[in-house]
């Protein structure tokens, strides 16, 4: 059963969008690509009275590199992320993840902000952005607020966003020497929701690993970091890592996963597959890290 009819509003600025949301509160929903929301509405799971279309707000569409940080507008399409040559050069994992998501046609509609706000435990971009230590810029009539992506997800479809807030920008710091992610997804085709997805980033200084980030999706109620596994590599020489150590890290990450069985895969399979793709993601990230 479809949700009931709604009023469609297309504001031209972020200020206007925030004012509308403040006024209509829970009765209104921000709508960007709509590729997650429209099916929910068609199934009657959501039934907003007001649909605030933010997909045409110019301030929300950009990919800017400035002062070793990337600023990506929340309404930027996945296809634009996929096509951005500067992103491909500096943060290759984002290009990798976006061209493994959904279909080429859906990528022309879907937005980076939508993928985050939808808060699916299996969200591909969210997993890649977690490994990149992304920050979020949230706007409301009261002003702006910054939040680490790692603090944003509370559970399946539950986030730290307040009901009057608009996700405006995703900020990716390319700290110091190198942050390169690597993304791996397991699914039958890209249209499928991931059985498991993993991203890894390694930062090294004079060959010595100073920071590792491993993020995993579809193995908990929200995208998570494998914090214990990440610690193992710190202080090690990135050029001398052997398979044994990397296997130890991926086993640990697999222990940290809390997968459930569902129609897509059972717990045992997910644990096993996480072990395999964490290892591959680390291999890939190490190759890319300028140690």
């Amino acid at each position: 059963m479809k949700g009931s009819a709604f009023e469609y509003i297309r504001p031209e600025t972020c200020e206007e969008a925030c004012e509308l949301k403040d006024q209509f509160s829970d009765n209104a929903i921000f709508w960007a690509g709509g590729t997650d929301l429209l099916p929910l509405w068609k199934d009657g799971i959501i039934s907003p009275q007001y649909c605030i279309d933010i997909s045409e707000i110019a301030d929300l569409i950009h990919i800017v590199f400035n002062n070793s940080q990337f600023y990506i507008g929340a309404a930027t399409n996945l296809s634009d992320i996929e096509a951005s040559s500067i992103l491909r050069e500096k943060v290759p994992s984002l290009g990798e993840v976006s061209n493994q998501m959904a279909t080429p046609q859906l990528r022309n509609l879907a937005t980076i902000g939508g993928n985050i706000c939808n808060a699916s435990p299996a969200a591909d971009l969210a997993v890649a952005l977690l490994a990149l230590d992304a920050k979020l810029k949230l706007l409301s009539v009261k002003g702006e607020r910054f939040l680490a992506l790692s603090e944003f997800f509370h559970g399946r479809r539950l986030t730290a966003i307040r009901q009057n807030e608009l996700l405006a920008e995703i900020i990716i710091p390319l700290t110091g020497l190198c942050t390169t992610g690597f993304f791996k997804k397991v699914g039958r085709t890209s249209v499928d929701i991931a059985l498991a997805n993993v991203s890894a980033a390694i930062i090294a200084e004079k060959n010595i690993i100073t920071e590792t980030r491993i993020s995993m999706g579809a193995v908990a109620s929200r995208p998570i970091r494998a914090l214990a596994a990440e610690k193992i590599l710190i202080g090690m020489d990135g050029t001398k890592l052997n398979d044994f150590t990397l296997r130890e890290v991926s086993s640990k990450a697999s222990d940290e996963a809390q997968p459930v069985s569902d129609m897509r895969a059972p717990v045992a399979y997910r644990r096993e597959i996480v072990k395999v793709i964490v290892k591959r993601a680390l291999d890939g990230a190490l190759k890319r890290t300028k140690v």
Binding site: E7, Y8, W31, D53, T103, Q105, L109, S190, V191
Partner: protein, 158 residues
């Protein structure tokens, strides 16, 4: 009243906010080449071009299309004067039932319009979002490669 710009013509019609672009194109404007199947944006049958980019029209609110240029299969060629991609599909026998064909041809048009060199693999990737239940994929890829080739030749002659 909302104004739609479809295949080079303007249409002023009344639409409700909860109608999808596919509904409006098919039922209100009569573009029956917009085929609707999964209604989840996964099968690709309802693909149209919005400002030159392929999108699943079942996944867009119709009002979003206001001010954009829409192309459906009806905007490409006519029975007496087929578009080069349509000709290539005939020559390569690139369909059986034809249900997925309009969507695929529009995705192919967006791909060929980029005027970049194409490999068969790139063509397959560009068709990731299309399902052909008859399984004509190899012929479809061949047809698109043929159409891209003939465009390249035309460019050289210009």
């Amino acid at each position: 009243m909302t104004q739609f710009h479809v295949n080079g013509r303007f249409y002023d019609i009344e639409v409700s906010p909860d109608e999808t672009l596919a509904d409006v194109l098919r039922d209100k404007l009569g573009f029956r080449g917009v085929h609707v199947s999964c209604e989840r944006g996964e099968c690709g049958a309802c693909t149209i071009l919005m400002d030159g980019k392929p999108i699943p029209s079942c996944m867009v609110l119709a009002l979003k299309a206001e001010g954009k240029e829409i192309t459906t299969i009806e905007g490409l060629g006519s029975p007496g004067n087929l578009h080069p991609i349509q000709k290539a599909f005939l020559e390569e026998h690139a369909f059986q039932c034809g249900f997925c064909t309009p969507g695929i041809i529009l995705s192919a048009k967006a791909l060929i319009d980029r005027k970049e060199p194409l490999t068969a693999l790139q063509v397959s990737h560009a068709l990731d979002g299309h399902i052909c239940r008859c399984g004509s994929y190899p012929q479809i890829v061949k047809a698109i490669m043929r159409a891209a080739d003939s465009q390249k030749k035309e460019l050289r002659h210009e």
